[in-house]
């Protein structure tokens, strides 16, 4: 497979999220017909300081980088489309008064310009499951200046 020549790498993750007040995990798994990538329950301690604010059921549909081949990206998008189409009726039946469902696209970009495209089939599959589309973009250019080490500061001040 031929890799495209791109100096900076951007990462894209596409996730199906169902969150809010959810029934027990087993029931969600059964009604959605798939095992999730991750389940978190509201009130669960997720770190020393943080408590999970909502019930979260999520399934990772695609994950690729800007230097992935077109074939790799197409395969992942196809997998995402097929998965969402299979789940469409279950997603549509979800009680939206208690939960939200979205297609969450997260991208971390090392380029100062660029973008990504979603195939029409993916947008249609999301619409058939009544999913809103959320996009989160974090730009992390390669211009970060590391803080000076304490030892360097000491050297500089003497």
């Amino acid at each position: 497979m031929q890799k495209r020549q791109v100096n900076k790498v951007s990462k894209i993750t596409i996730t199906l999220r169902v969150w809010g007040n959810l029934p027990p995990s087993e029931k969600s798994n059964h009604s959605l017909g798939i095992m999730p990538t991750e389940v978190l329950r509201r009130g669960e301690r997720v770190s020393k300081k943080r408590v999970q604010p909502v019930d979260m059921w999520r399934f990772e549909l695609a994950k690729f980088e800007s230097d992935s081949t077109k074939e790799e990206i197409d395969n992942q998008m196809q997998y995402a489309v097929v998965t969402l189409m299979k789940m469409a009726s279950a997603l549509e039946r979800l009680d939206r008064t208690n939960c939200n469902a979205d297609l969450y696209i997260s991208t971390i970009r090392e380029e100062d310009q660029g973008g990504f495209s979603l195939p029409a089939e993916l947008v249609a599959a999301a619409a058939s499951g009544k999913l809103s589309i959320e996009t989160s973009i974090l730009v992390m250019l390669d211009d970060y200046e590391e803080p000076e080490q304490e030892s360097e500061l000491l050297i500089n001040t003497h």
Binding site: M56, I137, L138, M140, Y144
Partner: protein, 108 residues
């Protein structure tokens, strides 16, 4: 609550050192300032927001002494937590939240 400028102005006008802001008043003011800064940040949207957020992420990373690799992994961590918490795409972390996340990330 009086703001610090008002307190200092009154103290100067009165020539009374007793009216000068005490430690508690200064702490209250700092807390209020942080709240307002967070609120302003939450309301900030549109062009330039992402650049400022990146600068914020970098500033927090520098404040916590992260090297380039850690800062890059911190970016991944921020996105992961945002995804897990059910936040919307534009529902960004505030400076204080990022500082907490940075401590959490570095303790892993």
């Amino acid at each position: 609550m009086k703001d610090v400028q008002q307190i200092v102005t009154e103290a100067i006008e009165d020539g009374d050192q007793a009216n000068f802001p005490n430690k508690d008043e200064l702490e209250d003011f700092e807390e209020e300032l942080n709240k307002r800064r967070d609120e302003k940040q939450r309301l900030r949207r549109g062009r330039g927001a992402n650049r400022k957020d990146r600068e914020l992420v970098d500033a927090v990373a520098r404040e916590k002494g992260m090297n380039k690799t850690q800062r890059q992994q911190f970016g991944d961590y921020i996105e992961k937590i945002k995804r897990q918490e059910g936040r919307g795409g534009a529902d960004n972390f505030t400076r204080n939240e990022l500082l907490d996340l940075a401590e959490e990330f570095l303790s892993i």
